[in-house]
Amino acid sequence: MPVKIYRSIWGNIFIFIFLGLLACFMALPLVFTISMAFKPIDELFLYPPRFFVMKPTLKNFRDLFSIMGNSLVPFTRFLFNSIIIGVIGTVGHVIIASMAAYPLAKKKFPGSTIIFQIIVLSLMFNAYVTGIPRFVILSKLGWLNDYKALILPGVASSLGLYLMRQFMTQVPDAYIESARIEGAGEFRTLWYAVMPLVKPAWLTLSLLSFIGFWGDTGSPALYITNEALKTLPLALSYIQAGGIARTGATAATGLLMMIPPILFFILSQSSMIDTMKTAGLKE
């Protein structure tokens, strides 16, 4: 690759050391979480405290399941709800946001500027107080205690649209023109010409969106009273509320909650690497 010609060795060494040190700082609390999740009770309250677990045990996880076993709804139901909402919400958000982002990125039409400005401004309005008006709207629509209440507001989040729009502005106009000349309609142009070019964007967005749906404790707490429709993080926050006696179970919870997003991350990153191998953005 001719691109790599002007890379100094000292620069590379510096980058590696810098990244290594920072990676340690970033990863430390996570390693600590993992270590704590496997600590038996006497090690959790050992003095002086140890960073790493000495005699790993699965007891914290068993505790977790026995605590969850006492609830009215089986644990797997919460898991199922979280996965359904995460997957449908993410797919819906990526599709709907991309459809709306394309015109805003590439076309000028009456209203386009003002709509885009409103969307960016809405990102800066703290969502906390909108919870109550949203609750009223959802109840008027009869969508309380319904998956719709957990999925649809997130599907229209401004973040995804803004992200997709920003990446789509980088797609060369000539590329879109040539798709149009070949007779593709707007939707086909978007789907077959633009979307492959912004693959890093929608892979990233799907990850962000999944994490958003997965970790959302606010909307299930507000809009859902039916136990059978509650999601995993909400169910697990009850455990964390148990206080110091549940230190181990809390750490186990944290660890369990991290697994699906990390799997999703690995999936999206490996497709990202594939994109890199096949094609860059070329005019």
Partner: protein, 317 residues
């Protein structure tokens, strides 16, 4: 005189058809772009329903007294007067929030950019692992509770026991309860978990850049990676830069959960109180939604001012 009147009449007469012509042209433009409106429709319907309407309602409520049980009663600017002139706790919240906005925010933004750029230099597989390591704190939104164990107030806490073993402190320090330390610790934790959306947008942005630009740059005599960053990479990344800046600003002004979880809510002497926590206090605990909405509107205005400034500076919309 006469000519003047004649002129004004004719210009008046010309103005009317001009206006209807404009309307016609607008209508033609809209019809020509109907495919665009069609593409945007599903998003816009949901967005209006779940974002525009609630935000408009909140702005309206900020001019009322509303306790959720009784219907809102219009009180004009009262909430704002009280908030800006008489609420001392709000001033503490603003001061603390500005600490996040001016210190944590920029550090995190430029840190994320630098880090993403460094990571981009790695080979694809290594890059994926590095991205995961740095992004991991943001992946699990709730894992920051782990810091409460690290900074635990008694000698079982990790920081306390380490510092005591090294002889730096003799007694355990209640790091998260002491007003002189807790804000800084929260800032550190916020920094730790803030390499989020912006960082990923940068990583993806680097991969979206036309690779031929770098080859052209090498031929044109770019000497080192700093020049390459400054002359090629950053200008081609403007859309991602402005995206991350807007999100970073919004996030810095919205710090709340971390502060509440680490320092307690409300924190001792409001030492870790932020604007959003002030809002939660009035909305969730005192059920004064009108006042909470006024706080939201003030916060919104501050955030927008900074956000628009950043968008101007990066000039990339």
């Amino acid at each position: 005189m006469q000519t003047q009147t004649g002129l004004s009449v004719s210009s008046n007469a010309a103005a009317r058809p001009d206006f209807s012509q404009k309307l016609q042209r607008l209508w033609r433009d809209m019809k020509k772009n109907k495919a665009m409106y069609g593409l945007m429709a599903p998003y816009m319907i949901l967005f209006t329903l779940f974002t525009v309407l609630p935000v408009a309602t909140s702005i309206f409520l900020s001019f009322t007294y509303y306790n959720i049980i009784e219907p809102p009663r219009f009180i004009g600017w009262e909430n704002y007067k009280l908030l800006l002139l008489d609420d001392d706790v709000f001033l503490i919240a603003v001061k603390n929030t500005l600490m996040f906005a001016f210190i944590t925010g920029p550090l995190s933004y430029f840190g994320a950019l630098l880090l993403a750029w460094f990571i981009n230099e790695l080979k694809p597989k290594v890059r994926a692992v590095a991205t995961l390591l740095f992004y991991a704190p943001s992946i699990s939104a709730n894992v920051f509770f782990i810091w409460t164990y690290i900074f635990q107030a008694d000698s079982y806490g990790f920081v306390n026991s380490s510092l005591m073993r090294l002889g730096i402190i003799k007694e355990p320090v209640a790091w998260l309860q002491k007003p002189e330390y807790n804000l800084y610790i929260i800032m550190l934790v916020a920094l730790w978990m803030s390499l989020g959306t912006g960082f990923l947008a940068f990583i993806a942005g680097f991969q979206n850049i036309d690779k031929t630009l770098y080859e052209a740059g090498a031929i044109d005599g770019i000497k080192n990676r700093w020049q390459e960053l400054y002359l090629i990479t950053l200008p081609s990344m403007a859309p991602q830069l402005v995206f991350a800046a807007v999100l970073q600003i919004a996030a810095s002004f919205a710090v709340s959960d971390v502060a509440a979880q680490l320092a307690g809510f409300p924190s001792p002497l409001y030492s870790a109180h932020t604007i959003v926590l002030h809002m939660v206090d009035y909305g969730n605990i005192r059920y004064e939604m009108g006042y909470a909405s006024a706080i939201a509107v003030v916060l919104f205005s501050i955030t927008v001012a900074f956000g628009q400034f950043a968008r101007r500076v990066i000039k990339a919309d």
